[in-house]
Structure formats: structure tokens, C-alpha cells
């Protein structure tokens, strides 16, 4: 083993390199935040399409999920940046091409498409996981179909899907690093940029890696806490049956 690398932490302290890292962190959060929001919207649309009673909504959505979940995120990113404006009408395409922030938008949309298919799967499974007993119970209480969803089924489903959704969000946060391939100046791009200017990328890469790990772990533990909390205030049918005294007010 021979090792001649000497750490020089002054590299990341120099203001131009530090700025790359700070802007990188900001862009990473922007991409992660907006693509997560957008992917949840996409997921809701696709999931309701797949669950809808209308056949013409079901199969396009199912087909889309079947195909899109096998396509890599980095492909979507390059596709949206380089190819998508080409297949639009010329005038619209050239507007997108010449728009300075298009790389950022393309990255966000691409990650949303990628994450959206997973989110739709999670949501669909969440709704399907609500037992038919719970549905019937809601119905027999005399709730309208809208009330059933809003008051009973959706809150239940939320509780079921939350852990998986949190997992996907962490994954999506990590995937934001892929946007470097189209020149979005996010954190991973910044480490490469520092490497190419100072020839010392190791320090910056170490800092970036620790950043990703810390954020992922924090988010993971927060979502874990939230999950525990939701579960602790949950009374399932079984609990109520076992402890009838709970439902009888004592004087």
C-alpha cells in the first residue's frame, strides 16, 4: 500500500470553493423539495387512475407504471434536458432550449416522473390495504362516499403509506445528485467542480458525502418518530373489542 495523499482542508475554506458547496446544498434542497412534491401529485393522479372504476383510466395508468418503473432516473434527466424540447413544436421547443433555468426544471420533472411511479404504487397499495371490513364499517355508519374517503379511508391509508413514502423521499433526495449530468450546479456537481479546479476533490467529496448521510439519517429518524406517534394513537377494531370498557363512559 502506498498512499501519498495529504489532506488540505483549506481548499473547501477558500471562498470560491465554499460558495460552490453552499450553492450546491441550496440547489440540492430545491431539487429534492420540488420533485418530491411534484412526484406525490403525479403519484396521486396515477394511483387514482389505476383505482378508478373506469376501464379507460385503468389500463393507460397501469401500462405507464409498468414501463416507467423500469426506466432509470438518469435516463429521464438526459431525456428531458436534451430530447424532450426537440419533440415539441419548434417554437415551444426553442423557448425551452434558450431558457436559462431549463436544466433545473428538466431535472425536477425527470426526478418527479421517476419517483412518481413509485409513489403511485405505494399509494395504490395503501388504499388496497384498507380491509373491506373497514370500508363496510364506514358505509354502514351512513357516511356518503365522499365522507367515507375523507374521514375514514384516507386517514387510514395515510398511516399505512407514510413509512414507504418517507423512504422514497430519502431516495429522491439522494437521486437529486444525478442532476449533475446536465450541469445543474448541485452538491455533487460542486464536488466535481472543485476537483477540476483545485485538483483536490477528496476533501469536498468527503464533506458532501457526510452531508447526504446526515440529512438522510435525520429525515429517516424524524419519519420514524412520526410513524410511531401515529401508530400509538391508533385503535384498531381488535383493541376496541378487547377493551370494551374504553367505549363505555364511566360516571
Amino acid at each position: 500500500m502506498e498512499f501519498t495523499y495529504e489532506f488540505d482542508w483549506s481548499v473547501i475554506a477558500r471562498h470560491e470553493y465554499r460558495d460552490y458547496l453552499l450553492y450546491g446544498v441550496a440547489y440540492t434542497f430545491i431539487i429534492a423539495f420540488f420533485s418530491t412534491i411534484l412526484s406525490i401529485l403525479i403519484g396521486i393522479v396515477i394511483a387514482s387512475g389505476r383505482l378508478s372504476p373506469v376501464k379507460y383510466f385503468v389500463w393507460p395508468c397501469s401500462a405507464w407504471v409498468g414501463v416507467a418503473r423500469h426506466i432509470p432516473a438518469v435516463f429521464w434527466i438526459l431525456f428531458f434536458y436534451f430530447v424532450f424540447p426537440e419533440i415539441l413544436p419548434d417554437s415551444l421547443g426553442s423557448i425551452l432550449h434558450s431558457w436559462g433555468s431549463y436544466a433545473l426544471l428538466a431535472g425536477i420533472v425527470a426526478l418527479s416522473i421517476d419517483n412518481g411511479t413509485y409513489v403511485s404504487d405505494i399509494l395504490r397499495n395503501g388504499v388496497l390495504a384498507i380491509s373491506s371490513g373497514e370500508r363496510e364499517a364506514a358505509k354502514s355508519c351512513g357516511l356518503t362516499s365522499k365522507q367515507q374517503w375523507v374521514c375514514c379511508l384516507l386517514p387510514l391509508a395515510t398511516r399505512i403509506v407514510l413509512p414507504a413514502l418517507a423512504n422514497r423521499t430519502i431516495h429522491n433526495f439522494k437521486n437529486s445528485s444525478l442532476c449533475m449530468v446536465i450541469g445543474v450546479t448541485e452538491l455533487t456537481w460542486a464536488t466535481q467542480q472543485i476537483e477540476s479546479l483545485s485538483f483536490r476533490g477528496l476533501e469536498a467529496t468527503l464533506v458532501a458525502t457526510i452531508f447526504y448521510i446526515v440529512i438522510s439519517l435525520i429525515f429517516g429518524s424524524v419519519s420514524h418518530k412520526m410513524e410511531n406517534r401515529l401508530n400509538s394513537c391508533r385503535y384498531s377494531a381488535k383493541d376496541v373489542l378487547n377493551k370494551p370498557s374504553l367505549s363505555v363512559p364511566t360516571t
Partner: protein, 290 residues
């Protein structure tokens, strides 16, 4: 805090390993290592036609690759090609993971501080601004425009420097991972100019070259040098002498003709061979006398 402990420990172990290793200093010259192992490790890129690229048969080829294998032949050792990219080529050299790099590496002062170069630079090109036809007349028109570069190319610093000579408005630099992506972005209008060395641009533009033109003239010398690890003058001399021998005995010329000659794969309009000023020396190759 458990997590906190975790990070501290991992970081500590990592830094500790590094510290142990860094105390080992290697004093042997690379030339001895190369002779002993009978192989020379040459770092070359694989995404920059015509210098180094993958052809449609999947073979690794290009001017740099041919030059590298010829140098190996002249040294009398086997060549082990190592893939580098524009960002790793310097770090690999300074860590002595490779014995030399032949990878469209322009000589710059910043790089000279990190590594050494063999004499002379083997291909003399220049950075140019490349734009769509009839958009810009001179370099001063590029103020405040979107300039595309390849991440790891010194165009990142050279291009704004050149433009700022004429104007106070800073251009916006967009750094792509591959040169080809830069050309594509230029064609699509995502950037206004692409800045890179002239032979790379010529090869990448290929058939669509008629849609583009060069703005102004070449501005920053792109003198491609063979990079060698720093502080090993024995090895640096060995490589320099082999390169100069190749220029003298015509094997350099053969490779040059194959790629950039009139009947070559990528004919180059100007003479990019290393040479001495013609008003003093006529047309004499840049080779040091014995």
C-alpha cells in the same frame, strides 16, 4: 448521541488509515518501476474524439491512444491504458497511480503546480469560441452570454478571462460532463457559444460543421502535453527523449498524418505539430539538440 458517535468513529478510522499510509514515501524513480514491471500505465480519456474515444466497434482509439502505444513500444515495455477523465487525470498523476497521462491535457500554470510535463507539447492547438452561424462577430459580443464548457477543461477559467478583456459583463458558464453534450446544447440553443480546443470541436461538429462558425480567433494556447508525476526528473527526461525521438524518426509524423493529415481521419487546416518559429528556423521540429 449514538449517531454523533457513529460519524466521529467512522471519520476517525478513515483519517487514521490515511495518516498511517501517508507516512510511506516512495523514493524510487518511475523509470525503474516501469523497467521492473515491464509495463507503463498511461492514463487516457475515452470520450473526446479525435484525441481519445470509443469507435462503433467498441475499440478504444484516437490520437492519444496511438501516441501512447508508440511511446510504450519505444520504451520497450507493455502499455496498460487506464481510463481517466478530465477531472481525474491530474489527481491520478499526483498520486502516482499512473506513470503518464496522454489525454488532451493543455499545459497551464495551475496544472504545472501539481504535475510535470514532458517536452515538447505534442500537439499545438488553441481554445476557440464556437457559435451558431451569423450570431456573433467578435469576442466582445460574447459579454453576458451563456458559455458552455466541459467540466475539467481549463476553458472554465480561460473563457471568461478572455471575454472580460473586452467587457465588464461576466458571461454565464455552464459546465457539461462531456464535450459532445456541449456541442448538442449549442445546436439546440441552450448555450450561445461552446469553448474548447479546435480539433475537439472540429471532430465533434463533424457533418453539422456548416451550421457553426468560430468567433474571433484562437485565444488561449491549448498545447497538449504529456503529463508525468511531479518531482521525478529522471522519468520526465525519459519520456521527453522518447517523444523527441519519435518526432525525429517520423513515427510521430505517421500518427499525425493518420489523424490530422490532409488524407487523415480529421484533417486539420493548420499545422499543429510542435515546431520552432518559421521566420528564424524555416520549418523545424521542436526537438532539443543532443
Amino acid at each position: 448521541m449514538k449517531l454523533n458517535q457513529l460519524f466521529k468513529n467512522t471519520l476517525f478510522i478513515f483519517l487514521f488509515t490515511c495518516a498511517i499510509n501517508s507516512s510511506i514515501v516512495n523514493a524510487e524513480s518511475i523509470i525503474d518501476q516501469v523497467k521492473k514491471s515491464n509495463t507503463v500505465r498511461i492514463g487516457t480519456g475515452n470520450d473526446t474524439p479525435p484525441m481519445n474515444f470509443i469507435d462503433e466497434k467498441g475499440n478504444w482509439t484516437g490520437f492519444d491512444v496511438d501516441l501512447g502505444s508508440e511511446i510504450g513500444k519505444q520504451l520497450g515495455v507493455k502499455v496498460e491504458l487506464v481510463v481517466v477523465n478530465n477531472k481525474t487525470r491530474i489527481a491520478y498523476l499526483s498520486n502516482r497511480q499512473i506513470d503518464m497521462t496522454i489525454s488532451n491535457l493543455s499545459q497551464t500554470r495551475g496544472r504545472e503546480e501539481q504535475i510535470d510535463y514532458a517536452e515538447p507539447p505534442y500537439l499545438w492547438t488553441a481554445k476557440i469560441f464556437y457559435a451558431r452561424k451569423n450570431e456573433f462577430k467578435k469576442i466582445s459580443d460574447l459579454a453576458g452570454k451563456k458559455i458552455g464548457v466541459n467540466q475539467g477543461s481549463n476553458a472554465y477559467t480561460a473563457a471568461p478571462q478572455e471575454i472580460m478583456k473586452y467587457s465588464k459583463i461576466e458571461p454565464k458558464i455552464i459546465a457539461f460532463q462531456k464535450n459532445a453534450e456541449g456541442i448538442l446544447a449549442l445546436k439546440q440553443g441552450k448555450i450561445d457559444v461552446f469553448c474548447q480546443d479546435s480539433p475537439i470541436i472540429a471532430a465533434l461538429a463533424g457533418e453539422s460543421a456548416s451550421e457553426f462558425e468560430v468567433v474571433g480567433t484562437g485565444f488561449s494556447p491549448g498545447l497538449y502535453g504529456i503529463g508525468v508525476p511531479p518531482n521525478d526528473s529522471k522519468w520526465r527526461d525519459a519520456v521527453s527523449f522518447v517523444l523527441q525521438d519519435m518526432i525525429k524518426d517520423g513515427s510521430y509524423e505517421r500518427i499525425y498524418q493518420k489523424w490530422f493529415g490532409e488524407k487523415g481521419l480529421y484533417p486539420m487546416p493548420h499545422n499543429a505539430r510542435p515546431r520552432l518559429p518559421s521566420d528564424t528556423f524555416g520549418d523545424m521540429a521542436y526537438v532539443l539538440p543532443d
